[in-house]
Amino acid sequence: MSGSGWLTAPGELLGSSLGLRTSKAAALARLLEGEHVPYFRLVECRRAPAGDVVVFDVRPEVPQFAPVPIRRVERMAVILYDADRTPTVLSMRADFPSIPHVLVPEDHREWPFLCLYDTSYDELRSRWTAARFARRIHEWLSQIARGELYHEGERMEPFLAVRATQVVVPDRLFTAAMLPDAPLYASAIDDGELIYFLSYEAPAAEEQLAFEVLALTVPPQQQGPLRREPQSVAALHELLMPLGADVRAELRQRVREWQTAGAGSRHVMIVVAVPLHRQEGMEPERIDILVFLTNHTISELGIELGVLARQGEQYGHLLPGAELPGHGATLELCRPVRTLTREFAADLNGVTADARLVVAVGVGALGSQVISNLVHAGFGKWTLIDHDPLLPHNTVRHALPSGAVGRNKAGALAFVLNSFFDGEPLAHAIRENVLRHSEACASAMSAADLILDAAASVPAARAVSIEYAGAGRRASVFLNPDGADLVLLLEDEQRRVRLDDLEMQYYRAVLRTPSLQDHLRSKGSRLRYGQSCRDVSSDLPQALVGMYAGIAARAVRSGVGARDARLQVWSTTPESEVSLVAPVIAAPLAYAAGAWQIRTDEHLVAQLMGYREAKLPNETGGVLLGHHDLERQILYIVDVLPPPPDSEEWPVAYIRGSEGLSPMLEDAAARTADMITYVGEWHSHPRGVAAVPSRDDLDVALWITEEMEKEELPALLGIVGDEGPQWYVADVLTRDPLAIHLAGAGRM
């Protein structure tokens, strides 16, 4: 240490900056010599074996009461290597604050080493200038002084060495208060760069074990013990002994055992868990895991530690008393990299992990990718339901690879998802058709917090919405037939707006929104490949499915974070401009009328009331559009056509005209792929007149019934009075036209 308290920088002192060999060092020295850069002063230039050293004083911005003790003047040395690799930045004071981003790597063990960049030098090289480099050092010290980088470094390990060997460590080790008793196994993969693994799972039998593991936990500490990297077993022993762990004695004993067991040719991985707490007596807040690799085999280690001796090819045990301190038993410090958990994944996605139970129905093109996106972000514990096997052409647009062809889609995806994270399995599969109502499906659905239908099938969506019991919210995601649009339907938290109600309001949006007029209309031949409006054509680009899988995953995630229902339709232009239509969702209304259930919503009722109001004291009326679910005997009233212009409206009579009706009905059917059709008639009654059918109304009902009967469809008659609409469903009981039976609907 020199007189002023600074350390002496590495290398030999040069007479001037002219002796520098690398262009970067020369540029830096020239810059600092010229006083062009404020707050810097060149001190000296030096030459180290591997590169040039430029030493300078820097005056960072330091607050009067700085949380981190950075000095007003700091002396730094920068090593710029002949082989143009990451410059090394060293502090010239031994007591430089011990904080993240400051460490001592193996080749500069005398000087605290600053970690200035979080990007690799390969990326920086093309932008490197001496001035930028100097500015970065200044800025770094200024930020450190305010404690800013300190907090940001939460996720960094304090001893992160830039070029250290990496070892993948089970996440559990970082969260448990101490190392579990279960044995740890070490292995390695050498595929260009050597990566080590530490695991609780024994390697498969055929694998040759190359390592033994010595794991130990020290008592809780207030800060990490490493300021200097221990280079040998002796140094590690000196470091850990004051903390209450005798690693060397432990190692000596284990070396004897391993040698006896015939493992003498293996190396040792030493794992030290250092629980860190804020204060004495408090629970540890986190754990530092230090991992060291011995450079020697166990037999050689035994010699260095004075417990074994070698005679020819044989090793023999030494009696106690011959122990050596272990200075020659050199160690390599590894950088621990934690395995991925759901929580860590969520963190890396910038969200919080969400362990709600999700049932996914349909693991096809969109479904598999939406699920995969959600799982990657730590969302959900999953039950996947699908009965289809994966076929070669499926993999064009699927989360599964060709290797899974022939496997059940749900089973194969569950397998893949379970390999994402360290920890409990997060997905399991039910290899069944959701329409078959198996016991397994029913119990999964009833327990679910969220049921995500991605089956691209109306019957499956209706089954999910109506037939399966359970309080969990339901959602549907699907693409329109040409794959240019994405639809999300999501029930509200209380399930007041059911998925089938949302489906109907979605059709109404398709009818009424100009930009959606071609949304369900077929291009060319109508619905070429399927029987349903959700069958997607086979020439759909994966790019579009992938994009929509991303949008859908975000929308589901944000949707379940709120209480209200969602109805969202995204459209994409050929230039990939995405737009969103999200109509207001109306509260559903349900009525029972004999065997039939009538479902509509407040928006439609308000519209009928509006028409009536506008024409009072005359009556008015018109045609109702909707959908029959014959299987479940539900009649959905979705929309109302305006009174035709040739209608006759009187204070006590209404004769519905027909002008323009046919084209409107045809258009409605074409726009909604035949989902929306004529369902009945409505008319208004004057003020003070009950909304019950008159003699004339019965004739109308009879007329409708006769026509609808041919289609085996119920006839609907709506009468709107002061209190709103009353619904009547007419069934012809016999061929006798007078025997019409009107079932007045009561609100459910």
Binding site: E35, H36, V37, P38, Y39, F40, R59, P60, E61, V62, P63, Q64, F65, A66, P67, R72, A131, R132, A134, R135, H138, E139, S142, R146
Partner: protein, 372 residues
Amino acid sequence: MHRLTFYPLGNADTCRIELQNGRTLLFDYAAMKDPGNKDDKRVDLPAELRGDLKRAGKNYYDVVAFTHLDDDHVRGASEFFYMEHAAAYQSAERIHIREMWVPAVAIYETECEGDARVIRQEARHRLRAGQGIKVFSRPERLREWLEQQGLTLDSRKHLIVDAGRLVPGFTLDADDAEFFLHSPFAFRTDEGGLIDRNGSSIVVQGTFNSGGRKSTLMLAADVTHGELGDIVTMSKRHGNDHRLESDVFKLPHHSSYTALGPEKGDTKTQPTPKVAWLYEGQCRHRCTLVSSSWNRPADGTETHPPHLQAIRYYEGVADQKFGEFIITMESPNSNAPAPLVIKLDGMGATVQKVVPAAAASLTSTSAPRAGA
């Protein structure tokens, strides 16, 4: 966060105080730069201040204080500020002064000219009008002048602030800032004689609250060691020692030895005991001492300030406090002095130090003339 800015103007003073609630005070205005001299490294003060006002969307200062009427504290003020007393100073681009602070001498001084005269006329106009001004004085000193104007002292008393008081209009509650007036003053000595320093300049201590920490600033204009000694005596007598504490000290009279003691000294000026107590006792840990002056002289033979011997004393204080002594014309370096910014927040006073990037330097001024 509050921000203090000291401008490199040679031996001249301008300090801007931006409070964290947006109110802004300017202490002195001295546009010293010689526009005809390319080598003049002093800052172009009006351009600098106009730029900042424009960025803040303002055309006024809440307060402009003229600590005294010497040229190095007022130069160019009559060209920069909107003066209410005469139409000649009221063009649209001029900067308004919501409240003017002046020492009493700025009212009754008869021998002054140029900018000083214009400021005097403005101060008199405002005092007559009874608004937009605070005069710092023992009130009695203004009685005669007021009566000559046909006004009574009582009718203007609320505009007169005596030493040993907080300046009304700023409070720690409302502004996180307050200003304590030390000078001008008059006081009785222990022997009973009257010392009247009402001819001297404004000395205030500002206290600034931010992030849970109170930081203090001493602004000492051009006072002499005698005046400083009297301020110390008076403050101690009234139990106001803490009103002389400082985290940032704008040193008096451009580091002239006369502000420390009677003798310049050979290597280092020896301060009077009272002045020594003011610095060595009342400057806080890691304080910042600001010398608004020309560069450090090569040797100790200079007659004009800054004096090397005085600088050495101040540097010694800074070292003892682990603080910093900064000369405005040398900050960040002598090649390119720039306004010195000190931030006051929960971490105390931080001298802003940003290494400028070339692009930032290039785009902060107009490009040189280009073209054929």
